[in-house]
């Protein structure tokens, strides 16, 4: 232990403010991991999945999944529980063997390659730290099985500890660490072997809200400083949008949409994506011709096109894009049936011909008010009809609890993680 590392000499032990700045560590790690030769491959695919299918007990978990993951990107698999995102991750980790299709890593087919021979590391849902080893030995594990010489091992463990700001915790028992500290040990243990890809299986689900927000920033920083690919699995859309370079929205064992967070939010491809990401008013509409559609009995100018003439479509209008006016000035008008103050804005439910719209507005609107709505052409988003059409209606049964009830993973993590403290999941 006395050898220290390059890092230990450069950086005096960091204090309690371990969540924010990381200073020189990142530069040194960047040097280690990125190097010069890495730039050449930057846009290459490090992982390719081709028509992967998996079924357990006759139930299809993954249905013909194809996905390319670029070297160095932060990609998130997002979807409700049971959508197949964790299974996809386990295929990459080598814990699940696809029944059909091929997986490529760095151009090599990795079907049948056992987990211990793959150049990926996983951060497991509940960290899966070794309970009989202390912090130092947990992190050193991957190096010990690789028979890394003791001096180098010590340097690398210290570097990893510095990366996650856990220096001074070497001798601690795992059971004596908080959830956030265990999370850091799991990160250090996974990156110390210098994997090309880090797989993260809902790593933040067990942390309380505040810590989760901090760790989001922290993980993103670590990913950028290491310059390695992160494949992140979550059911929390806000987490996905704020951390990822690209988001893969999954449901029912299928990929629903792949795109940047902006794409996913602004240009959802079907009703499922529109409903899952953020709040949406999803209406039945008819595309009359390019640039003109009819919804809620009125014709609206829009910017989308290419759907043909008189084609039934799904229309998404985000609550924050609707402008509130006096009833006579609005394109549509209706009666407010509910209004909730949310801090930044009011969440208003408006009944227009039986369809309950959600509007987010800063204006103070009370239940019973008669209001008008103005929707700009660029705020009307047209989607092709899909299997999800009609499944997501209006906000007539809306309540804050609904999201929680719909999500079995939420209850699960709360019950099993009773020791982790508050579980204030907010979507």
């Amino acid at each position: 232990m006395e050898g220290g590392g390059i890092l230990t000499k450069k950086n005096p032990p960091s204090g309690g403010n371990f969540l924010t700045k990381r200073g020189k560590n990142s530069i040194v790690w960047l040097y280690y991991f990125v190097g010069k030769e890495r730039d050449a491959y930057m846009s290459e695919n490090i992982i390719s999945l081709e028509n992967i299918s998996v079924a357990f007990d006759g139930e299809t978990i993954l249905d013909q999944i194809s996905l390319d993951i670029k070297d160095g990107e932060f990609i998130t698999l997002l979807g409700p529980s049971g959508c197949g995102k964790t299974t996809t991750l386990r295929i990459l980790g080598g814990f699940v063997e696809p029944m059909e299709g091929r997986a490529y890593f760095d151009g090599q087919c990795i079907n049948g390659v056992p987990a211990h021979k793959r150049q990926v590391s996983t951060i497991f849902q509940r960290y899966a730290l070794f309970p009989h080893l202390n912090v130092y030995e947990n992190i050193a594990f991957g190096l010990r099985v690789r028979k890394v010489p003791e001096a180098e091992l010590c340097d690398r463990v210290e570097e990893a500890l510095a990366l996650v700001n856990l220096r001074g915790f070497e001798k601690r028992k795992i059971a004596a660490l908080s959830g956030g500290q265990q999370q850091r040990v799991a990160i250090a243990r996974a990156v110390v072997t210098r994997p090309k890809v880090l797989l993260l299986d809902e790593p933040l689900a067990a942390l309380d809200l505040k810590l989760r927000k901090d760790m989001q920033v922290e993980l993103k920083n670590i990913q950028q400083s290491l310059g390695i690919t992160f494949v992140f699995v979550t059911h929390d859309q806000e987490e996905a949008l704020s951390m990822s370079d690209r988001v893969v929205v999954m449901d029912n064992g299928k990929i629903q949409q792949i795109g940047t967070p902006q794409d996913i939010y602004n240009e959802p491809q079907n009703a499922f994506v529109a409903d899952f990401i953020g709040e949406s008013n999803i209406l039945d509409g008819v595309m009359l011709r390019d640039g003109l559609c009819r919804l809620a009995g009125k014709e609206f100018v829009c910017v989308d096109g290419g759907f043909g003439e008189n084609t039934p479509v799904d229309v998404v209008i985000r609550p924050e894009d609707i402008k509130v006016t006096a009833p006579q000035d609005g394109m549509l008008s209706g009666v407010v049936t509910g209004s909730t103050f949310k801090g930044v804005h009011y969440e208003v439910i408006v009944d227009i011909k039986g369809f309950k719209w959600m509007i987010q507005t800063t204006a103070c609107i009370k239940e019973g008010d008669h209001i008008g709505m103005v929707i700009g052409p660029e705020d009307i988003h047209i989607m092709q009809k899909s299997e999800y059409s009609g499944m997501f209606g209006d906000y007539s049964s809306f309540s804050n609890e609904m999201d929680y009830i719909d999500d079995p993973a939420y209850d699960l993590s709360e019950e099993e993680e009773g020791t982790e403290g508050g579980e204030d999941r907010v979507d």
Binding site: F130, F141, G142
Partner: protein, 274 residues
């Protein structure tokens, strides 16, 4: 636990305390008394020098006890690991099979084993039917060891299965994920995590094996192990002093073994069976 317990709670403990006093503390004191006195009740150390006649019995008892324990461990360890990785339903079923023989009295099980191992018993009948030469098994040390393994193996499987089932599958996956092959995962994760169960199992098999009687008499052709001799000194010969001395020495030896064993498991409470 700093809070003083109420009278009611202490009363609830009373039956056990009385029971322990009458059937554990008092007999132990009597053992001590007989061990250090002669037939007339005068203090003597003569009993301890008399015991040296039985030194080969002690050696044989420990040897057969250790052998049975090792065989139990070799059989039980992989079995416990395999059971612990099955589905919860299959685990319950397999553990029921392990426990099943314990529902039958030890004496009956030993008699059954006698019938199986006899020169005209089940195994030899099968051998004869297959046209193979008969094997002499009954009244050998091997038969005694077989009897002890058969009778005591659940006590080895249970504690090992217990610790194994508490090893989370993700922890094993983490080891593989970090580059550990099966052997490395076993050596660095499974074995250290199951050590308390191993120590506990060894304790629970070795203690009854060393002090066993009846099994040795029935399966070993009146072979005399320490347990048998102690029984004889109290029933047949009625030489309480020698019997008590042997019991005392056996107790001390087992105690020493257990203390050594406990050092291996970091003083984990699992193994504190003594």
């Amino acid at each position: 636990m700093t809070k003083r317990r109420g009278l009611g709670q202490r009363l609830l403990a009373a039956p056990y305390i009385v029971w322990a006093a009458i059937f554990i503390i008092v007999p132990l004191c009597m053992v001590l008394y007989y061990a250090f006195t002669d037939a007339s009740g005068a203090f003597t150390l003569q009993n301890f020098s008399d015991i040296s006649n039985f030194s080969h019995t002690f050696v044989l008892s420990i040897w057969l006890g250790a052998l049975s324990t090792i065989i139990c461990l070799v059989i039980a360890y992989p079995l416990a690991y395999i059971i612990s990785r099955l589905s919860p339903r299959a685990q319950r079923f397999m553990m029921m099979l392990v426990m099943l023989p314990m529902w039958i009295n030890l004496l009956l099980r030993t008699y059954a084993l006698m019938k199986i191992l006899e020169d005209t018993g089940l195994i030899n009948s099968i051998l004869e039917w297959m046209g193979l030469p008969p094997m002499h098994m009954i009244n050998t040390q091997g038969a005694v060891v077989a009897g002890m393994v058969y009778n005591f193996i659940p006590y080895m499987i249970l504690p090992i299965y217990n610790v194994m089932s508490r090893i989370d599958t993700p922890v094993l996956e983490a080891s593989r994920d970090l580059g550990g092959n099966f052997w490395q995962t076993f050596r660095r994760v499974i074995f250290p995590l199951s050590l308390p169960g191993i120590v506990s199992g060894i304790t629970m098999v070795f203690v009854p094996s060393v002090s066993t009687f009846y099994i040795s008499t029935k399966l070993g052709g009146n072979m005399a192990l320490v347990g048998d001799i102690i029984e004889f000194t109290f029933t047949g010969e009625a030489n309480y002093n020698v019997g008590a001395t042997m019991s005392l020495i056996l107790m001390v030896m087992i105690l020493v073994c257990m203390l050594v064993m406990n050092r291996f498991s970091d003083g984990d409470e699992e193994a504190m069976i003594v």
